[in-house]
C-alpha cells in the first residue's frame, strides 16, 4: 500500500478545517439541520431563512455566525440607534436628562426650597415616570436587535451573558447604567475571551452597584492604602455640640453617616465564585468568599448616586492586608492587582471551565447535555485560555448538537417565544417598549430578574400554569396584529388567502412549525376536531372576558414595561390569521 504523501495529508487537513466538514454522519437531514441551527444559534427562522441557510451551507453559515464582523449589519444598527436614541448615551447624560426624583429633591433642599407646592409634587411624580422610562429604550433595543440583527449568534450570546451576569434594573440607580453595561461590558466580549468579559463586568457600574461591591470597603481593623476611611467625620470634636442646637442639620449628618459604607460587603464576591465562575460546587470556602471580597475592596463607582460615569479604584478604601485566595497568597501592600489576580485565578480554574462549558451546552444542546460533550467543551476552554468562540464552536459543531435527541429538545424561554414568533411572521422591529412588555407578561421581564442567579436555562421552570396561558394569549394577539410591526395578514399576503384551507395548513405547518405537525395537529387545524378524543373540546371554552387590566402596580422600583402591555380584548381571528394564531400558540411552537 502506498503511504500518502505529507503534502497530501496537509492538503486534506486544511480542506477539512477550511470547510469544517462534519467528520461523522449527522442524524439530522439537511432541512432539519438548517431549522436546528436557526432555532439554536438564532432566535428562530424568518420567512426564507431555511432556504438561505441551505444555500450557504449549514457549516459555512455556522462559521459566519461565529465571526459576526464578517456579516454586514449596518442598516439594522442605524435603525436601532434612531429608534432608541439612548443606546448611544453615557450614564451621566441619561442621568442628566431624566434624573431620579430624590436628586431633584436634594437639589431643591440645597437651594433652600423647602416648601413644596402641589405643582412641585406633580413635577416630581412625572420626573419619577421619566426616570423609569429610561429602561424602556434599553429593553426595546434588546428585543429589536434580537429580532432584526443579521448577527444572530452574537445576539444569542449577548442574551446568554446578560443572563449569566444578570443585573436588576429596579435597584436604585442601576437603570442608568444598563446601556453602558450591555454596550461596553457584554457585547464586545460575547464571543471573545472570558477573562476580558469577566473583567469588564467586574468593573461595570451596573454590576458594582447591583451586587454592592461599590460600597464594600476595608473593615476598620484593616490597613488601607490611604489612611482610615471616615476618620475625618469621626475626628472632629465639638461638631456634635454645635449640631445639637440645630436638629435639622444633626438629622442631615446622621442621614449622611447612615449612607456611608461600613465595611466589607461579600455579595459580589460570593456570586462571582458561585454563579459567575467556579459554580456552586466549584471547590471554594466561605473564607475564600471573604478573601475575594477583601481583594476587591476599593473597586467602586464614586458618585454613582449623582450619575457619575465610570469605574474607579480607590486606594483609600482598599484592604491592603495579605490575603489567601483558593490556596494562593496575595502579598500585603498592593492595590488593584489584588482583584485582577483573583480574576486571573478564577478564569484559569478547572471548575470555571466546566461550569461555563456546561451552561453553554445546556443553552445550545439540551437540558441534560451529554457529559462527553461538556468534557470536550471544558477542555477547549482550558486549552484556549477561555476563548468563548472556540468553546461555542466545539459545542455547535459537535455530533451531539446535531443528534436526533437534541432536535427540538429545548423549551423556549418567554424572550425566545416572543422574538421567534415575530421573526416567523417577518415582523419589522417594534420601536416602542410594547413588545418588551409582552416578554414581561410571559414571565421574563428584561433586566427584571431580582436575584443574581438569572433566569432558568432549562424548560420546566417556564411551564407553569399562568405562563403557558400567557404564551397562548400572546400568540393570539400577535396573529391578530396586536404586536407592533407584526401581522399575520402581511405575512400571508393575498396569494395564501386565496388558496384552499388544506394548502394554507401546509404552508403554516411548513413555515411556522418547521414542517413538524402530527396528523392529529393537522386535523385540529383543519376541522377543530381532535381525532384522539371522543368528542371535541369546543364546549369547554366560552370566553366572557371583559377585563383588560394587565397594567399593574409593579412595586415601587421595578421596571414598568408591562404596564401598557396587556393583550387587549379578545381578538376575532378568522382564516389564515386564525391558523397563524393556532400555530404560534401550539405546543410545537413552544420548542426550539
Amino acid at each position: 500500500m502506498r503511504r500518502p504523501s505529507l503534502l497530501g495529508v496537509l492538503l486534506a487537513t486544511s480542506v477539512i478545517s477550511l470547510a469544517a466538514l462534519p467528520t461523522v454522519q449527522r442524524e439530522l437531514s439537511t432541512d432539519e439541520q438548517a431549522i436546528h441551527v436557526l432555532n439554536r444559534l438564532a432566535f428562530g427562522p424568518r420567512p426564507g431563512d431555511v432556504e438561505r441557510v441551505k444555500a450557504i451551507g449549514v457549516d459555512r453559515w455556522i462559521a459566519q455566525q461565529l465571526d459576526p464582523r464578517s456579516i454586514r449589519n449596518d442598516a439594522n444598527e442605524r435603525l436601532i440607534a434612531d429608534a432608541f436614541p439612548s443606546v448611544r448615551l453615557t450614564a451621566s447624560r441619561l442621568f442628566e436628562e431624566a434624573p431620579p426624583p430624590n436628586v431633584i429633591r436634594r437639589q431643591a433642599r440645597r437651594q433652600g426650597d423647602t416648601v413644596l407646592t402641589r405643582a412641585d409634587s406633580m413635577m416630581l411624580r412625572s420626573a419619577a415616570r421619566e426616570a423609569r422610562a429610561v429602561v424602556g429604550d434599553v429593553i426595546g433595543a434588546r428585543v429589536a436587535r434580537s429580532l432584526a440583527s443579521e448577527r444572530q449568534l452574537e445576539e444569542v450570546m449577548v442574551d446568554f451573558w446578560l443572563n449569566h451576569f444578570t443585573v436588576f434594573a429596579g435597584k436604585n440607580v442601576v437603570r442608568y447604567y444598563l446601556v453602558d453595561y450591555e454596550r461596553e461590558a457584554i457585547r464586545p466580549y460575547a464571543l471573545g475571551r472570558f477573562r476580558d468579559l469577566l473583567g469588564a463586568v467586574a468593573q461595570s457600574p451596573a454590576m458594582l452597584l447591583y451586587l454592592d461591591n461599590a460600597q464594600s470597603v476595608a473593615d476598620s481593623t484593616r490597613p488601607t492604602l490611604g489612611g482610615r476611611f471616615g476618620q475625618g467625620v469621626r475626628g472632629r470634636t465639638g461638631l456634635r455640640g454645635r449640631l445639637a442646637r440645630r436638629p435639622q442639620a444633626a438629622a442631615r449628618l446622621d442621614s449622611l453617616r447612615a449612607r456611608m459604607p461600613r465595611g466589607l460587603n461579600e455579595n459580589y464576591a460570593r456570586e462571582l465564585l458561585e454563579l459567575h465562575t467556579l459554580g456552586v460546587d466549584g471547590g471554594y470556602s466561605q473564607q475564600d468568599v471573604i478573601e475575594v471580597a477583601r481583594s476587591l475592596t476599593g473597586w467602586t463607582v464614586p458618585g454613582a448616586r449623582r450619575g457619575a460615569d465610570g469605574f474607579r479604584f480607590v486606594p483609600m478604601l482598599h484592604d491592603a492586608g495579605e490575603k489567601r485566595v483558593l490556596g494562593h497568597r496575595l502579598a500585603a501592600g498592593r492595590g488593584i492587582e489584588d482583584g485582577e489576580d483573583v480574576l486571573d485565578l478564577l478564569c484559569n480554574h478547572p471548575s470555571t471551565a466546566r461550569h461555563i462549558a456546561r451552561k453553554l451546552a445546556i443553552r445550545f444542546v439540551s437540558d441534560t447535555p451529554p457529559s462527553q460533550l461538556v468534557d470536550r467543551a471544558a477542555a477547549t476552554f482550558t486549552r484556549t485560555h477561555g476563548d468563548i468562540r472556540e468553546v461555542v464552536r466545539t459545542i455547535i459543531t459537535s455530533e451531539e448538537f446535531f443528534s436526533r435527541a437534541a432536535y427540538r429538545a429545548k423549551v423556549k424561554s418567554p424572550f425566545e417565544v416572543v422574538v421567534s414568533a415575530l421573526r416567523a411572521l417577518g415582523a419589522s422591529p417594534d420601536t416602542t417598549p410594547r413588545t418588551a412588555g409582552a416578554v414581561a407578561l410571559l414571565g421574563q421581564p428584561i433586566y427584571g430578574h431580582q436575584a443574581p442567579n438569572g433566569w432558568p436555562e432549562t424548560g420546566e421552570a417556564w411551564l407553569n400554569t399562568g405562563a403557558i396561558l400567557n404564551r397562548i394569549n400572546f400568540a393570539l394577539a400577535a396573529a391578530a396584529g396586536r404586536m407592533p410591526g407584526a401581522s399575520a395578514r402581511a405575512w400571508a399576503g393575498d396569494s395564501i388567502a386565496r388558496l384552499s384551507r388544506d394548502r394554507q395548513i401546509d404552508i403554516v405547518v411548513e413555515q411556522l412549525l418547521g414542517g413538524r405537525a402530527s396528523s392529529a395537529t393537522r386535523e385540529i387545524l383543519a376541522t377543530g376536531r381532535n381525532p384522539l378524543l371522543d368528542r371535541a373540546a369546543s364546549d369547554n371554552m366560552q370566553d366572557t372576558t371583559t377585563s383588560d387590566t394587565a397594567g399593574d402596580m409593579l412595586g415601587l422600583e421595578r421596571p414598568n414595561a408591562a404596564r401598557r402591555a396587556g393583550f387587549g380584548t379578545p381578538p376575532k381571528l378568522t382564516g389564515v390569521a386564525e391558523l397563524v394564531g393556532l400555530a404560534l400558540g401550539s405546543p410545537e411552537f413552544q420548542r426550539r
Binding site: 427584571g448 377585563s547 387590566t549 387587549g568 381571528l573
Partner: protein, 422 residues
C-alpha cells in the same frame, strides 16, 4: 370529562415512569385526571405595602412627647373624642391614623393585632434590597433563589385528601399581580394574575377550543402536560363564576386596584378552588415629600388600605375564622420629618395581623422609644422584632408548617421569641 381521556392520561403518566422522567412531572400529568373542589382549609393573605409605609404615622405613639417634637407639621394629633382629625386611641399610648378608623372595630373585637418596631435586621435603606430580603426571607443574603412563601409551599403538602389523590390545586398559591412576585418564586407551582377575568384564553370563536385540542393530542411531554393543566385550571376558575360575584354582608370594596384585588381574593376563597396562600401588593408609600398629617397624601393611601381590608373581612364573614391577613412593608421611615414635609427611609416598621384566631386587641412588639439614644443610628425607630419571627409563628400556628429551618434558613426560630400573635 369522558373516561376515555382519563384512562389515556393515566396510561400516559405510567409510560413516563417507565421512561424515567421526574416525579414532579408525573404529578403534573396526573393532575389533569381530576380536579375536585378541595376541602376548606386555612388561608393566609399576605399584603405588601411597597415603598416603605410610615409606621409612626400608621400606629401613632401619641404617648411619646418626642414624636411630636420630631414631626412638627406631620404628626397625628393626640386622640380627642369626637374629632376625626386626631388619632384613634387603642390603649392609651398608641393610636391608629384616623384613616385607619375602619380597622378600629376589628381591634376592639380582638381579631386585629398591630405590631410595632418590626422588620428586617438588615441595615439597608434601599427599597430594592429590603423588599428582596423581606420576600426571600433571608436578610443580607442576596443569593437565595426562592421566596419564603414558596419554600413553605414546597416543604408542606396540601390537605390530606388532596395529597392522597396526588392532586394539587392550581390555585393553591395565587398572586394578584401581573408578574410573579419574588416571595412566590421557587420550585412549587404558583400563579400570578392581574385579575381573575384575565385568566382565560383570549380569543373569540373556536380558536380557544382548537388550541385546547392541540394540547390534548395525547403527546405526554412537558409542554403538552403543562398546557392540559392550564386548560383545566381555566375551566375550574370558570365554574367559580367570577363574573357574577356579589360580596356578602353588604361589603363595599373601594374601586381602587387594591380594593378590587382583595375582592377577587375573597371570590377565590369562597369558590373553594383550593386557595391556601394569596398575595397582593399596593404602592404609594414612599412619602418623601408633602406626606401630610391627619389628611393629605399618606392619609389617602391609608384610607384605601383600611377600607379594602375592612371590606374583605366583612365579605368573608364567618370564613375569617380560617383566614389570616398579614401586612408587611420593607422598612419604616425616619423618625424626624425632613425638609419637604415628608419622611426619608428609616429602619423598623409596622405590620398588621388580622384573623379569627389572632390574639389581637393589643399592640404587639416591644416599644424601643423615640429618645435620640433609643433610635437606630440616632435617627430611626429601632428594631425589636425580626419579621421572620412573625412569619414563622404564622406559618407554624396558622398553616401548620413544620420545617421552619427550611423556610427561614439561618434563622433560629425560637418559639420563646414569638410574640404570641396567635
Amino acid at each position: 370529562m369522558g373516561t376515555g381521556r382519563r384512562a389515556f392520561v393515566k396510561s400516559g403518566a405510567l409510560a413516563l415512569v417507565t421512561m424515567g422522567l421526574s416525579p414532579s412531572f408525573l404529578r403534573r400529568t396526573a393532575f389533569a385526571m381530576d380536579l375536585p373542589k378541595t376541602k376548606r382549609g386555612k388561608v393566609l393573605i399576605c399584603l405588601f405595602q411597597r415603598g416603605a409605609a410610615d409606621a409612626l404615622n400608621m400606629i401613632v405613639p401619641h404617648g411619646e412627647q418626642a414624636y411630636y417634637a420630631m414631626r412638627p407639621t406631620i404628626a397625628i394629633p393626640r386622640p380627642q373624642r369626637g374629632n376625626d382629625q386626631t388619632s384613634v386611641d387603642l390603649d392609651g399610648f398608641f393610636g391608629l391614623h384616623p384613616s385607619l378608623a375602619p380597622l378600629e372595630r376589628l381591634y376592639r373585637d380582638g381579631v386585629l393585632a398591630p405590631i410595632h418596631a418590626v422588620g428586617s435586621p438588615s441595615a439597608t435603606r434601599s427599597h430594592f434590597d429590603a423588599q428582596d430580603y423581606m420576600e426571600s426571607g433571608t436578610p443580607d443574603l442576596k443569593s437565595t433563589p426562592d421566596g419564603w412563601l414558596n419554600r413553605y409551599l414546597a416543604t408542606h403538602g396540601t390537605c390530606e385528601a388532596c395529597a392522597a389523590n396526588a392532586v394539587e390545586s392550581p390555585f393553591r398559591a395565587v398572586a394578584m399581580t401581573s408578574q410573579m412576585p419574588r416571595i412566590f418564586e421557587g420550585p412549587a407551582a404558583t400563579v400570578a394574575m392581574a385579575s381573575l377575568g384575565e385568566f382565560t384564553v383570549r380569543a373569540d370563536g373556536d380558536a380557544a377550543a382548537r388550541l385546547e385540542a392541540l394540547y390534548r393530542t395525547g403527546e405526554a411531554d412537558l409542554v403538552h402536560g403543562a398546557g392540559r393543566e392550564m386548560f383545566e385550571a381555566v375551566k375550574l376558575l370558570k365554574t367559580a363564576n367570577p363574573q357574577r360575584y356579589q360580596p356578602d354582608n353588604g361589603a363595599d370594596y373601594p374601586r381602587s386596584q387594591f380594593g378590587q384585588r382583595l375582592r377577587e381574593i375573597a371570590q377565590l376563597i369562597k369558590s373553594d378552588v383550593g386557595l391556601e396562600i394569596a398575595f397582593a401588593d399596593v404602592g404609594g408609600w414612599d412619602t418623601h415629600v408633602n406626606q401630610g398629617g391627619a389628611t393629605g397624601q399618606l392619609a389617602a393611601r391609608l384610607r384605601d388600605f383600611a377600607q379594602s381590608i375592612a371590606a374583605l373581612v366583612t365579605d368573608l364573614g364567618p370564613r375569617m375564622s380560617d383566614v389570616l391577613i398579614m401586612s408587611m412593608t420593607e422598612f419604616g421611615r425616619m423618625a424626624s420629618q425632613n425638609g419637604n414635609g415628608g419622611t426619608d427611609h428609616g429602619h423598623a416598621g409596622a405590620m398588621f395581623v388580622l384573623g379569627g384566631s389572632v390574639k389581637g386587641g393589643r399592640v404587639l412588639g416591644k416599644w424601643p422609644g423615640l429618645q435620640r439614644e433609643q433610635l437606630f443610628e440616632g435617627r430611626d425607630l429601632a428594631l425589636t422584632t425580626d419579621f421572620r419571627s412573625v412569619f414563622a409563628e404564622v406559618v407554624s400556628k396558622h398553616l401548620g408548617g413544620e420545617k421552619l429551618d427550611k423556610i427561614f434558613p439561618g434563622f433560629a426560630a425560637h418559639r420563646l421569641d414569638w410574640l404570641g400573635v396567635l
